[in-house]
Subunit: 312 residues, 6 copies
């Protein structure tokens, strides 16, 4: 929908054209925000992540791992993170746009706070001084990269908390190559959005455009439900909710998930035989012979998987 | 379902046959209700509406405009009404029977209040004196016309607040030619109802029949959520909720929606080209050339639309 | 999913193999639970039920009646039970796994209470003395029979209240031949579970495994919402919620439902003719001739139904 | 607090001075409202009330009975109304300004609906034509009489739903001689209001002034929670909530309450003796001698009460 | 209040007089309930408790310890129970009758379930056969002993969930010598009850009498919030909520609380000196000299306390 | 209460003593936090504030103005801020410790986020490198100054969200000279805290100590409800909720409040005369003579006030 009344949300000033070299401007943007989190900060706080980084400093979980993650369910992730002592990486309570479609990508975080004119004026002035456009939702959206998931804390608002309508949702889909959206807030134009093929998790819908908020952070640490989300976290969503996986645990989570899935495969197969009580098989076979049978099955299937993936 | 225990809801008295000339009886019905709103009242309070009226005084938004309204989303409506200063015309929080199926029609309003025997007895006595049947949900339902949407304030009740089960829902569908139902209350027989092809918006479901309420108004002003609904309002529902559009704004809303839809069409097309940041295109193209391109596109598409509708 | 961290939920002790003669052990299990309800208790409190019983004492509503019950909607059940003065047999507020798929079966009840170590240790000790495995969710699940619906009071918990994940859900499906699950609590692995073809009603989902609870009763009277559920009740679920029908009313409910369904069939047929107001036909035809027409229709259709079922 | 920004709520027009003969104007006011309920309507729908009436047609429960009602608790009222089949006369869920202070008076009802400019303009125009001031909360407040309780349906709103601040609350106290306020909505200036000695029941507080609503009825039937309140009902509030007693039941309720209070007096006296189990005394003494003792006690105390009141 | 309409709740049958030797009848009562928990069960499941027992088998925490417990706050209890691994012994979310007045006593538990006529009839029949009165709330209340706290699971119900009104509340106060009431449900007659000097914790109030439930257990394990309450637990309530302390931890809890209280006394004294940052003193003094000072203070004050209690 | 189990919340490491020169360390602390907001940032974003600053950069609203602010009610503040277009400065929904006691002071802000070990470890390491103690609630509390109000965003948590118990609450009272506490989260030891004479606004209470969170900001911009709170804002709380007033509006708010209070004084006086309808006097007197009378009254009283304050 055309945001005809957007002046209500962001004032009536003219919007400047984004500089085509905007990737270089990221540090400047960071300085213009109320909440600053420099490239060095990001490097320091995500020092354990083992992958390359984006020019903006975000960890870049490789595409191949994102691809493998499409089969994850949140329970498979739970077991690895719990073991590591990371109990606060799951958020739910969302409406899910396409429940059958997995969400996988790298977190691109955005934070809003309640509008306060004195503070917003300073931030806008700082942005202007750096030749930047007005700070608003599109400022962040225009920085999205393929494989990103836009993760937004907009205060859980329904009215005035609509981060995108169908036009911007479409743009996000194009820019991220179908990455996805997680918003602790709302969206509008659900009719239009429901026809666009990108996963989305949102708290509510509303016909109002975004308003009465100010953009306070792009790629800063944000809170979604009971999770501290860091830029570059791997985001995985299923029918239950969304996991934010620190990059240093991605590989282990995926490997563990392989085992879990094979375990489940074998367990169901045994159940199909109809000869065993559930506790004889699950979670660990009681009979040593069965246990052995399982171990062999696991070994064989893991090998097959590797081969299938050409991992040798 | 057969309402076997309806005596619980409405007492054990015999139900009189509705006079075949009941259209003429509407004023009488109005006098028999607790809340009266005469044909003259309706004319006074909807004086700005530009269309014909039903014999009962309700504005009659033309069928052709209803037809065009099937493509509206609630956001498209929002922009026109907001501009006019009508901020209270949208209600949500409903369960939606067939989320993909648009709801469009003319509001036929019904109001219930908590049962209070002394008041109800007087109302029933007044109805009887005018040769009218017992005041109950069917009294209103039997007055429905093709294109109507039955809009009911039954106090948001779940238990005892079931305005229809599948039999009456089926009748409403037949009488309104698939118009629809919006109820701030509940329905029953969801299994049966879900097989009937008419849009419906309701707060909850319950196995109990309607009860412990009294019918207090037919085609009177009622409240649905934060909306004052007037008889004859154009009702439009999508995946988010329901709009009640005063008839005087119907034409303008539809025309504006055409523009918005063309604007969105063009915007997405430009996004598809992959050459622009979202803020370069949306909501208004920054580059004067692009703006010009858009203006021409809009003009051409509007003309096509008109032609298509044979409006030229 | 593999319950890798189940030691958190139930401690790290070894799980003993269930004795193959476990049907004989039911009384022993009953003694080992905190809440005891002996076979004699069950017989006393369900004395009015007219059918055979399982070895564990539960009433066994015949398969043929379960089959007929697949067409019931909760409203059809409501009318019979209300008439008998049973107002507390319906529970709703569940998420429904497969909304279009009817749930029908015999209640197998399980109760949990908040974990309290001193109490749980005694119960586990008593179980051990009787050669029983550790009391946990699988203890109950391993006793399920074809046609059972697993009905669980796990305190409405979300976190730690997940009675099954997809592995055990699959086992329940196999063991009950697709009977079903009703849990006042949560499930996990919704992605996996949604692919398994068994009806399920649950309050929420969560990635955590079951924990911080203790099993306190198997086939004891339990509470689900505002219902006292007895082992062996016929469980029927539709798009609205779940009914628990005392076995003594099963036959009458089904016969009444036949009449209701034929009544609805005829009513809709008359509405289709477009000649009548709803109140002329529904719920009772006003015109004696129509009433007669209906009575004949009812008689004929009932006869056809009986024939169809080979009941004649 | 000075309503400096009230133009936001009701527009910037000049407020006309209320005519000093306003009692005579009540019918005119009624005509100017959206929801009309004439003096004759009021007479018809409260035909069973046995007392005098106010000039505006409202039943006038005598002051002496109001005085006696100060000792009522809502449970005492419950028993009479339940017996009569009036199950919907109690509302709770309020914040109570002075929990220890009983609320007693005659209902003066006011109804608001969501603001809708086309409707409000017609109502204001009608008011103007009759030489009436702008319809707003003060229009109603200026009509209050000693002994009245202002009962307001303002849609349960918190923001913009503040029927009074401390200035108008003070005025209501003066005008009703401490009658009271019941509002399904909010109040503002709680600090100031808490120092004013009048009972009040409200849903919430908010710093905003009243706004985004329109006055649609004065002394019309309104809904408060699950109660249909009629103008002139006796309003009684205690620590639990508020009862609305139809005038025809006032005398019987008070007499019954006398008996209940004496019964309680005697019951506690017997409990004080420490010789009886509760069920031997309450609710009916089991021992015929005790029953006799009670009957005599009741007779004697009722006589004393009458004498005390000079009713003899 | 006189329960005039109690026939609605418990039927119209005559209530038999309770046998004066009812203490001997407890086992019989237990057999008549739906949920049975024999004296032996109680002994087994509370085997670790170190005190005498009541004739009904309940642990009897000595009066002297109850007396000391009057100074406990829930946080002092928390530290001991947490350390033992008892995380589920605290319930809150109650309305508190007299917030400043501590609740201390021994749990007398009562359980209700939703009324189901077939089950209730059997239970009542069993009671009758044993010469027992009708099973209802007074059946349990008449068994209360001095020092007891009546702890009731009545399903969290508001309407129909009122375990006592002011008459029975008064009786409970007399019978328990001011012990107290904790109900996961409601009470009625709040006006009258608020004048009675006994602590009470309840979820809500309502004018209806108890109804639509059946008594299913007296002194059986029950659930209150997330706590499994055992008969004889020490119940302690403060301004936050209620703790249920297993008797085996009572002594240790009280001793630990002494230390905590002395620690707090000393901490505040040091803060009063104004020379230290909070972290220098609390929770453990950083400076070894201060630590020593504290240790001595603790020793001295503990000795004083003992002396004061004549424990030496 | 002694935080015996605080290792659960913050790990078992030793706590270093705070350097006595800690005021100089503030910038260092800022660098050690996840969310940084330098002294320069603070100066930039509060550039319009007209008062002196604390060494840490916070605006220092003078004590004399704080003193005057003790008479403010939130409605008086509302009128000034609304006029300036600051609609998001009020938060409510708190439990209020001492409802009659006004809260006034300067905001000292603290922010927590959900614990995430990788992030917390880096922050703690950074703190250590700067010779700082472990980052935890006491780190912030030890920096409080007289006149401060501790304003904490701890995620609205109940369990584990207890910013202080009675020991630290007592310390805060001492350190701020009774300034106060506003926490979007919980407190523990309510019994002890309720005896301490300092205003406090909190969402809930819980017996658990703080845990499962990490300190992420001291004197950074935080969000409380729908307010962006800046360090140094004037905090004012009454019986309704809490206002956060940007320092640049403090003087004007207080002056306006004087007028409002005099206006109310005069209005009530006129109401006391009993000669006027409310709308004749309020909000603006209709009669020009009355208006004049009021203007003179206002002038005289303002002069008196000034004199009283020795401002002349």
């Amino acid at each position: 929908m055309m945001r005809i009344l957007c002046k209500q949300a962001f004032g009536a000033r003219a919007l400047l054209t984004l500089c085509p070299l905007c990737a270089f401007l990221v540090p400047a943007v960071v300085d213009a925000q109320l909440i600053t989190f420099s490239k060095q900060d990001l490097a320091d706080y995500t020092a354990k992540q083992p992958f390359e980084r984006f020019p903006d400093g975000r960890p870049k979980v490789p595409d191949a791992l994102l691809e493998r993650a499409r089969d994850l369910s949140s329970e498979e992730i739970w077991s690895t993170l719990q073991e590591k002592g990371y109990n606060n990486q799951f958020a739910d309570g969302f409406q899910i746009l396409h429940p059958g479609k997995p969400l996988v990508g790298r977190a691109f975080t955005v934070q809003f706070m309640p509008l306060r004119k004195d503070v917003d004026q300073v931030a806008q002035q700082k942005a202007k001084e750096r030749g930047l456009p007005r700070l608003m939702n599109q400022t962040a959206i225009d920085m999205l990269q393929p494989g990103d998931v836009l993760v937004v804390d907009i205060l859980g608002k329904k009215v005035d908390g609509t981060i995108v309508g169908d036009n911007l949702f479409y743009y996000v889909m194009k820019a991220t190559k179908g990455g996805g959206l997680v918003v602790d807030g709302s969206i509008r134009d659900l009719n239009g959005i429901s026809e666009i093929d990108m996963p989305a998790y949102f708290k509510s819908t509303d016909p109002t455009p975004i308003g009465n908020v100010m953009l306070t952070g792009i790629n800063v640490p944000i809170r979604i439900g009971n999770v501290t989300v860091m830029p570059g976290d791997m985001v995985v969503g299923d029918r239950e909710g969304v996991y934010f996986i620190p990059p240093q645990f991605v590989k282990e989570t995926l490997d563990r998930a392989d085992e879990i899935r094979i375990h489940d495969e074998w367990t169901k197969k045994k159940f199909d035989e109809g000869k065993y009580k559930s506790s004889e098989i699950y979670s660990t076979p009681k009979d040593p012979k069965l246990r052995e049978e399982y171990e062999e099955y696991l070994k064989r299937r893991l090998a097959e998987l590797k081969k299938q993936r050409g991992e040798n």
